[in-house]
């Protein structure tokens, strides 16, 4: 690895970034995801934390431009130079520019450049790393197409960034390991749908099951929402509003894709819970009735999404209305007219219309085990 002359670095742990414009080659949400994941690579091995700004001056300004764009290095049309970024300092320092004449893609393909890979490289410059001559290192100057699912920062890059910033102070024994997909004891903290996909949460980890790709993708929560900590208690989606709500302790956040909606977190009392309710165990939304059910201990509440208010007559016993569910619920999911309740390593499939428990299986049944 190498650093720039005089080894410039950010003298703070909290670094801000802002995406000034978007390439038309990709969905805006996919650009945001690629950039967030790129930052997450670096934050996973350093004390650095990256906060996205939506206006004003950020430390790292990210933009797409063609040809001459007002700095020292003009872009050169398709191919050749793909992007560049400046070492940490004020003004243009830290900024990352991407050549709009390239075809930017979400995944590695033969007819475009994977934005995540290029962004991760450029942000290495933004943090103070120069080019590495180690083939295979992220900071190697040549673009190398590779599968970026489960991409891990190569050791040379880890050594480089940790020479500039302290290594992450995490005691390995305290970092929860991601359980294996087919671990018979696998349980979940929370589960939700998101734009047709299903996200399963456990500690800092996410299992992503999508109709758009085969297999299960493994991610961390911070790779999607860098400012959200892991360990959600509950989550649910209101697909008509393109909104997912996450609960942790007595607070909740609303996200739309990769964007956390402004004004969050809010206290769960805003939803109508009394202060005696400290946390939600599970939540699930029924798109047919527009009602959301919140599970706490042995009881559940019904929330009307239309009126944004808790319904009268609640809480009720879970076992009274969901026969066969005689215990607390860890996580809940709605899919094709069925509720799926998760408790430990077991999953209870419940027919909403006929109010009948129809199947009990293992929690990992979604992972093709």
């Amino acid at each position: 690895y190498s650093t720039f002359p005089h080894s410039p670095r950010w003298k703070k742990d909290n670094v801000t970034y802002r995406i000034l414009n978007y390439t038309p080659d990709m969905l805006q949400a996919d650009v945001e995801e690629a950039i967030a994941k790129a930052f997450q690579l670096w934050s996973s091995v350093t004390p650095l934390r990256f906060t996205k700004l939506y206006s004003g001056q950020a430390d790292i300004m990210i933009s797409f431009a063609s040809g001459f764009h007002g700095d020292f290095y003009s872009f050169d049309g398709p191919g050749g130079t793909l992007a560049h970024a400046y070492p940490p300092s004020s003004g243009i320092g830290g900024d990352a520019h991407f050549d709009e004449d390239e075809n930017w893609t979400k995944f590695t393909t033969y007819n475009g450049y994977n934005l995540f890979l290029v962004a991760a490289h450029e942000l290495g410059h933004s943090l103070g790393l120069g080019h590495s001559n180690v083939f295979g290192a992220l900071m190697y100057p040549i673009y190398m197409a590779r599968d970026t699912r489960n991409y891990r920062l190569p050791q040379d890059d880890i050594d480089g960034i940790q020479a500039l910033y302290e290594p992450t102070q995490i005691t390995p024994s305290k970092t929860p390991m991601r359980p294996k997909d087919c671990d018979p004891h696998l349980s979940f903290d929370a589960i939700t749908t998101l734009r047709g996909e299903i996200l399963f949460f456990k500690d800092i980890y996410v299992w992503r099951k999508s109709p758009y790709f085969s297999g299960i993708e493994h991610d961390t929560i911070s790779s999607f929402w860098p400012s959200l900590a892991g360990g959600f208690d509950a989550a649910y989606e209101v697909d008509k509003k393109d909104r997912v709500i996450f609960f942790k302790d007595n607070q909740y956040w609303a996200v739309s894709g990769y964007r956390i909606e402004p004004g969050f977190p809010r206290p769960i009392q805003n939803l109508g819970f009394s202060t005696s309710v400290r946390k939600i165990d599970a939540a699930v939304h029924d798109p047919n009735t527009k009602k959301t059910y919140f599970f706490v201990g042995q009881k559940y509440w019904s929330f009307n999404e239309n009126t944004q208010s808790m319904e009268r007559g609640y809480p009720r016993k879970i076992a009274a209305d969901f026969k066969g569910i005689g215990h607390r619920v860890d996580a809940a999911l709605q899919r094709n007219g069925h509720f799926y309740f998760f408790h430990g390593s077991k999953q209870y499939e419940f027919d909403i219309k006929n109010k009948k428990l129809i199947h009990i299986t293992k929690s990992y049944s979604w992972f093709n085990c």
Binding site: T81, L82, H125, H131
Partner: protein, 80 residues
């Protein structure tokens, strides 16, 4: 077959631009001694070949040119 002269010119131009962009090569346009520029260019080609783990010859061979044509980051590999 030998490289056609036009193609050779293009390759040399591409190499010059590449070395200017990424290896701090500066061609002296008014130099009376053409060989001086060639020496400087050869030195920079060596530097580039060494960085990428290519055989260090100082000559603009096929492998070196192929490497120069790869898509890459616009930040120089060496600085003045």
């Amino acid at each position: 077959f030998p490289v056609v002269p036009e193609k050779e010119k293009e390759d040399i131009q591409l190499a010059k631009q590449y070395l200017e962009n990424f290896y701090d090569f500066k061609e002296e346009k008014d130099s009376l001694f053409k060989s001086k520029n060639l020496d400087r260019m050869s030195k920079k080609i060596r530097e580039m070949q060494s960085f990428f783990g290519l055989e260090v010859t100082g000559e603009l061979n096929r492998r070196t040119l192929d490497m120069m044509k790869q898509p890459r980051c616009g930040i120089p590999d060496v600085r003045s």
